[in-house]
Amino acid sequence: MKLAYWMYAGPAHIGTLRVASSFRNVHAIMHAPLGDDYFNVMRSTSERERDFTPVTASVVDRHVLARGSQEKVINNISRKDEEQHPDLIVLTPTCTSSILQEDLQNFVDRASLSSESDVIPADVNYHRVNELQAADRTLEQITRFYLDRARKRSTLDRSVTNAPSANIIGIFTPGFHNQHDCRELKRLPGESGIAVNQVIPEGGSLKYLKDLPRAWFNTVPYREVGLVTATFLEKEYGMPYISITPMGISNTADFITQIGKLVNVWASALSGKRINYKLYVGNQTKFVSQAAWFSKSIDCQNSAGKEAAIFGDATHAASITKILAKEMGIRVSCSGTYCKHDAERFNEQVRGLCDEVTVTEDHTEVGDTTARIEPSAIFGTQMERHIGKRIDIPCGVISSPVHIQNFPLGYRPFLGYEGTNQIADLIYNSFNLGMEDHPLDVFGGHDTKGVSTKSLSTDRREINWTPEAESEPNRIPGFARGKTRRNTEVFAKQNNISKITIDVMYVAKEKSSP
């Protein structure tokens, strides 16, 4: 057993439900006890979804425990089939069904005989994978199911589209700014004459899945979801894919260059035309995105060398680390992710861009690291925002897990050239918030705040401060207060001083290495 207060990634079935309910006319039936269908609440509230979430539970109760589900699941599948005629019903296991070890495949086989809809069981192991991995697998499973069928029925069209086109894989509900990213992603290649063949799973229709291989290539904007599908399409249908996340100026430029390379391989053969993206990238970088100019402007100079801590999913944390370190000259003291299964590549991505790397699922570890580093700003999830609140450091939210605030009505992509503008605003505003106090403090403003304790652990060591010394840090500007206090205590400990006087404070200040 593990003592846990908070988790960054949810349980496996959530991932399956996210993918299933992103597709059009797909219904998920959960094999779960009463109350486990809170996914419907999450989706309905955070995404402000207008329509009924296509998820129902086949309820596991005492009777099921005693006699097994018997006909219950099959009846629920048939009922849903008659009521709503979905194209596909995904039978979703939960932790409960995995412990009960009921044969879901058997239910599916029997229900398939009588229902118009296709029925498949989601193939995810509850204990081995988390929400994101499960979503990744379910997407691949559904895609494979329909492509294999088309192949068997020989309804598969193996010719590529005349004009260059791409699939976008991995946009789904309720993803962090996914809807806006999707719009931006359609625009990005679109401006350079590349059509979007299909977007899956969000809004995707199952009957068109067989036309996925007609695209020239696939793009996978997020590392968490879509890679498994893309590698499957590469292996079986020879489709190349781009897994660069177009977040930030240099990543977006790389992304477009990569598209250019892929398209030109075919274009010269098909139409004899070669497309050159250099000009496009240059123009966009200089004029559409303000981020390049912003990083040269005086504003950004002021934040040069400031420290930041970053935490989130692998895609966002790595990209934001790169943007801060390379594009804005901000020092990233710590960069981390909770995607343990992707730790190797994350390390590779942020190597040389930050002082230390944290890969953990434990929010207290993130909290303590942040408290120790005392950055000027944090970029993380909702959890880090609250950690920041407690230790008085501003935070910009850059990744799931999210909250209704992170589903803005306005257009806020993180990807592409408009994304670079949004990110620049987010970063600048976070640092600025932290700096607003300073002039006030420097001029002895109206600030009489005490020092916040700079550790989130319940670790209390007794060091006495004399009253005069106690009040001394209050004359120091707030943002340096905690550091001064901590340095003094560390110095006192090293020299076995148990009472801190004003003298000790100043000696400590002299001795402290910058």
């Binding site: 057993m1 593990k2 003592l3 846990a4 207060y5 908070w6 988790m7 949810g10 349980p11 079935h13 959530i14 006890p33 009463l34 109350g35 486990d36 269908d37 809170y38 419907n40 609440v41 999450m42 309905s44 509230t45 402000r48 979804e49 207008r50 329509d51 009924f52 979430t53 129902t56 539970a57 309820v59 596991v60 109760d61 005492r62 425990l65 629920n76 009521e83 709503q84 005629h85 939960t94 932790c95 409960t96 412990i99 009960l100 509850y126 204990h127 081995r128 909702q382 959890m383 609250h386 609140k389 319940t458």
Partner: protein
């Protein structure tokens, strides 16, 4: 007297949305200040709680998950050792007076013997460990609190009649005084009777003290509450103690003191709405042979204060989808306010424990000349939505999973969970309860949209 129209009870498939009963942790850890809750189960439960608690989770709540992993499920790890390790950490981190283990579906299915392990660890750690099995196999939402309070009943100290015999004599004396004609002004009656009345149900402390005051007005003093503000202050139970519930979902908690502690249960309607509050007090008075005083004037006064809200809802119709067991009481209150109730969905209907409330519902329907609603136990949400399309109620009281989609289909909704967290008990809070109910109806401005529906779905649900 005309025979009352008996409400029809139906039972559907049980395919309905409600919260997992472990969500009771969210309000109970706040109520019992020196407690620490440990939910034993898988990631699914933890994730639910994290989402259900919303922002509260960031405030360092006194609750934690003991997350079962594969080794626990396949019994490669020893449950007792694992729990001991975790409880030690909880003890060091938080130093609570009690640790409450919440058993979940997971512990039920793998048959983890929490009740067997708890006493052993209690000895070892020197902290009381209370076990409550609040799982979604047997219970819905608010019934979680029921399991916790029923488990706590066993921990209440023993009420001893002999030491309080002296007091008993006082009571009889006081009672005699009470019968004597009272020349004081009505507000200043004789001293409250020391009657052993314990109220059960977790209410915010301000609401609890309001209830205490309500009964004090009738010179009845409440001797304790289950749960108390602190675990160390649990009320004494035993022969000669009367217990009375304030919430309709506390069936087990009602049964336990009767069967195990020889208490007497006062079966009353629940103090929701001015009518319910009055009936509740009257029933308590009748048990202690006290003549209620000034209740009618008080009730009328409250109704007068509600007139602006009553104007909004009189004649409007309401449909309860059902998820928290408060439905019967709230429906009864709304019918008294002049609304028409089409259907009362409810997860579980204990007709014995809610008998007085059901009777009041019938009387209210008769008095207001409104049809008796159908009561649907274990409802089927899909069928309910179909029925709502037919009936087009003015208001649907429903869970968050259906609220936005129904709004998009032009049916005003009120999120039912708010009734469990808002202060709706007692005469004082009748206004707050109506504030909730009328909010969606007051919001109805001239529609900015010329269209009736904002949903894109062709097939419904």
């Amino acid at each position: 007297m005309k025979t009352l129209e008996i409400p029809t009870f139906e039972c559907e498939t049980g395919n309905y949305h409600t919260s997992c009963p472990i969500s009771c942790v969210a309000w109970l850890y706040q109520k019992i200040e020196d407690s620490s809750f440990l939910v034993v189960g898988t990631k699914t439960r933890g994730y639910f709680l994290q989402n259900a608690l919303g922002v509260m989770i960031f405030a360092e709540p006194r609750y934690a998950m003991a997350e079962s992993e594969e080794g626990d499920i396949s019994a490669q790890l020893n449950d007792q050792k694992e729990l001991e390790r975790i409880c030690l950490r909880v003890k060091n981190d938080r130093n609570p007076s009690v640790i409450i283990w919440i058993g979940t579906c997971t512990t039920e299915i793998i048959k983890m013997d929490l009740e067997g392990i708890a006493p052993k660890l209690e000895k070892q750690l020197g902290i009381p460990i209370v076990v409550a099995r609040a799982n979604g196999l047997d219970h819905a939402f608010t019934q979680g609190e029921d399991t916790v309070l029923a488990a706590m009943t066993h921990r209440c100290p023993e009420y001893n009649r002999h030491t309080t015999n002296q007091q008993k004599e006082d009571i009889t004396r006081l009672a005699v005084v009470d019968v004597a004609p009272n020349n004081n002004s009505p507000g200043e009656r004789s001293k409250p009777i020391k009657c052993n009345l314990v109220l059960f149900g977790s209410l915010p402390s301000s609401v609890a003290s309001q209830s205490n005051l309500e009964s004090k007005r009738q010179s009845i003093s409440v001797s304790g509450w289950l749960p108390s503000q602190k675990y160390t202050e649990l009320p004494a139970l035993g022969e000669g103690v009367y217990v009375c519930g304030v919430n309709p979902f506390l069936s087990r908690t009602a049964a336990t003191p009767m069967r195990r502690r020889k208490c007497q249960l006062v079966g009353a309607p629940f103090p929701i709405g001015p009518d319910g509050t009055r009936a509740w007090i009257e029933k308590i008075c009748s048990v202690f042979d006290v003549k209620p005083d000034g209740l009618e004037e008080r009730e009328n006064q409250i109704w007068k204060n509600l007139s602006d809200y009553l104007e909004v809802i009189t004649g409007k119709s309401v449909f309860f989808m059902g998820d928290n067991l408060l439905e019967i009481s709230i429906a009864r209150f709304l019918i008294r306010c002049g609304m028409v109730v089409y259907e009362i969905g409810i997860p579980y209907m204990d007709r014995r424990y809610q008998a007085a409330e059901l009777l009041l519902l019938q009387h209210t329907c008769e008095k207001m000349e409104k049809p008796t609603p159908r009561i649907v136990e274990k409802p089927d949400n899909y069928s309910q939505v179909q029925r709502m399309h037919e009936l087009q109620p003015d208001l649907a009281i429903t869970g968050m999973a259906h609220a936005n989609p129904l709004e998009a289909r032009n049916i005003d909704t009120k999120w039912s969970v708010e009734f469990t967290f808002a202060q709706i008990h007692g005469s004082v809070n009748a206004r707050d309860a109506l504030e909730l109910v009328t909010r969606p109806l007051r919001r109805r401005s001239d529609s900015i949209l010329g269209c009736r529906s904002l949903s894109r779905q062709t097939v419904d649900v």
